[in-house]
């Protein structure tokens, strides 16, 4: 029982992480980035590539590499395409642009890597266990949980405690006034997109250590991220974390009863919550 709970929390923390990236993008840029799932896959594959090239690379460097690579691509995408689409009156244009970009990235991955499932080989870390209070825990989930917790703490500190975070929130509130005060809005947007993509890649690396990923995983992960954001609320980092943990628990518990259900029960839980909210009229 404790084991299931622990696994659910670990997975849920990762769901929270990918949700946080999407929420950041949606909250600040007001664009639902439909390529978010692709950044998760991209992060995983970059890590696989890094480890394949240099097996002895320590985990922090792998994580940093995947983060930096995805962040760079995220910023480029924002600056080159999405920022221009945001100028149009209809906000759906920017979302459809990210959908087109997602199609490009997904098929680009398929073209270069094929449709095969790949996992990230972490050597002895996968089997190692530690005893704690008479209970034995896997080291890998513990490390995952620690990294996710650290990422959440750093993100909250960055947004609420730093000058950059202040400017990000100002741009989110009133982009025109922020620009008038001398904040370079497009630059803030690109940095937010980079941060969002980087978080996705980080989660992607950690997900690849748990289970294999393929270029098709992006869609499933995007939907999870979306559900986390809707249930947790935009602009509420803690809400996103709680929603992620909840859906992670649902996933792990459902898997105990129905091993090959995929994400069905997570999606169903989300849909039920939606119907409930629709019936009670409590909706964003």
């Amino acid at each position: 029982m404790i084991d299931v709970l622990f696994q659910g929390l670990t997975l849920g923390a990762l769901y929270g992480l990918i949700g946080a990236g999407l929420a950041l993008n949606f909250g600040i840029l007001r664009v639902v980035n439909l390529a978010h799932g692709e950044f998760i896959t991209l992060g995983a594959f970059m890590a696989v590539g890094l480890v394949a090239g240099q097996a002895a690379l320590p985990l922090p460097l792998v994580l940093a590499g995947a983060f930096a690579g995805a962040a760079l691509l995220g910023a480029l995408m924002q600056a080159a395409f999405v920022e221009r689409a945001m100028a149009f009156r209809d906000p759906m244009v920017a979302m459809l642009v990210t959908f087109g970009l997602a199609v490009m990235i997904r098929n680009g991955l398929l073209e270069t890597l094929g449709a095969n499932l790949r996992g990230l080989d972490v050597g002895g870390l996968a089997q190692a266990r530690v005893d704690f209070g008479g209970q034995s825990f896997g080291l890998l989930p513990l490390v995952t949980l620690g990294i996710a917790a650290a990422a959440f703490t750093l993100l909250a500190a960055l947004i609420f405690r730093t000058r950059f975070g202040r400017e990000v929130r100002a741009v989110s509130d009133r982009p025109d006034i922020a620009a008038m005060m001398g904040i370079r809005v497009a630059r803030v947007h690109a940095l937010v997109a980079a941060l969002s993509a980087g978080l996705a890649a980080l989660a992607g690396v950690l997900l690849a250590m748990r289970a294999s990923v393929s270029p098709f995983s992006g869609v499933a992960h995007l939907l999870i991220a979306f559900e986390v954001v809707v249930l947790g609320g935009i602009g509420r980092i803690r809400g996103v974390l709680v929603a992620g943990l909840f859906l992670g628990l649902v996933q792990v518990i459902a898997q105990r009863f129905d091993a090959n259900a995929g994400m069905l029960y997570v999606h169903l839980t989300f849909f039920l919550a939606l119907v409930l909210r629709a019936l009670t009229g409590r909706l964003a």
């Binding site: 949606f26 639902v32 439909l34 395409f81 221009r84 689409a85 149009f88 209809d90 906000p91 759906m92 244009v93 979302m95 459809l96 642009v97 959908f99 087109g100 970009l101 997602a102 199609v103 490009m104 997904r106 098929n107 680009g108 398929l110 073209e111 869609v219 499933a220 995007l222 939907l223 979306f226 559900e227 809707v230 259900a261 995929g262 994400m263 069905l264 999606h267 169903l268 989300f270 849909f271 939606l274 119907v275 909210r277 629709a278 909706l283 964003a284």
Partner: protein, 311 residues
């Protein structure tokens, strides 16, 4: 009401359909069926997104539901296949009512991705249903009998008449009171609401009509393949194609999807002949839709039409 030349167009489609079914070879007929059914789906997506302002990323769910409604009903009963096909759009449109009522509590981007989640749920449930037979797939055997001859000949006639009939029906519809309300909705939702248009009801009607249309088109398409799996019927590529066709051709115009389908299929056939892979083709389509969105966010048709009018 319907104008004489519009009636003539439908009659012409019927004539050309019968003629084409006799003259064209099986490969061309198959391609034509695909083009026509894809056009119907894209026009449906356009009706909801381009006119209604409701972008859905989950309409592939209705394609899949339509296909399975047809296959399962036709296989289990002795009803004529074409009668079942005629019933599919209406049944799915009715079934879409409660779904629409739940989903419309989500706005804009939330609605779009929410529909995607619905499509995932239905696909995964379909996998679990024993009568769908999962990845083993389902063969179309109306009344337990294998289909004789070439169904694509009849499918081609139906699809051509349906595609032309859809264009005519939409033209007629847009001249009615409800049609004018739809145009008002396309141009400015707030103003339409202020002018007394019941936006909620109109959205629901468009949602159900487009659900039924996608279901009918999907059912029609899979009669030519005679075989279906959930992976195929519910695939993301349906919605990608609907979106790409509409966005490139022109959202909120009737002619846009015609142009879009021509570009999508033309490019695919051209790139396949030139030896490019399917992945490369989709990369190009993704790039093309992004480029069109950034240069002319309402699609190519309005821009081209503007150039012709000026020139």
């Amino acid at each position: 009401m319907i104008r004489p030349f519009e009636l003539a167009a439908v009659a012409l489609a019927l004539g050309l359909g019968i003629l084409g079914a006799r003259m064209l070879d099986a490969g061309l007929l198959f391609l034509a069926c695909e083009v026509l059914t894809l056009f119907i789906m894209a026009q449906m997506w356009n009706l909801l997104a381009g006119y209604g302002g409701q972008v859905s990323l989950g309409h592939q769910v209705f394609v899949g539901i339509g296909v399975y409604a047809l296959f399962l009903t036709a296989n289990a009963t002795t009803l004529p296949l074409w009668l079942v096909l005629a019933g599919v759009p209406f049944a799915v449109a009715l079934a879409a009512i409660p779904l629409g009522m739940v989903m419309f509590h989500l706005k804009a981007a939330y609605f779009a991705v929410g529909m995607w989640v619905v499509a995932e749920i239905v696909q995964q449930i379909a996998y679990k249903m024993p009568f769908v037979r999962g990845t083993a797939g389902l063969v179309l055997r109306p009344g337990g009998q294998s289909i004789q001859g070439y169904p694509e000949q009849i499918v081609f006639v139906i699809a051509l008449v349906a595609a032309v009939g859809l264009m005519v029906a939409l033209r007629v519809f847009l001249r009615t009171r409800a049609g004018l309300a739809t145009l008002a909705l396309r141009d400015n939702e707030g103003a339409a609401r202020a002018a007394g248009v019941n936006v909620q009801r109109l959205h629901l009607i468009l949602f159900c009509v487009t659900a039924g249309g996608c279901a009918g088109a999907g059912a029609l398409y899979y009669i030519t393949t005679l075989y279906v799996t959930p992976n195929d019927a519910f695939q993301l590529n349906w919605i990608v194609a609907m979106m790409v066709v509409t966005v490139i051709g022109g959202t909120g115009t009737l002619a846009g999807p015609v142009l879009g389908v021509a570009i999508l299929i033309g490019l695919r056939e051209g790139m396949t002949a030139a030896g490019f892979s399917g992945d490369q083709y989709w990369i190009v389509m993704g790039l093309l839709s992004v480029a069109v969105l950034l240069v002319s966010p309402r699609g190519l048709w309005p821009t081209l039409a503007g150039i012709f009018r000026k020139g």
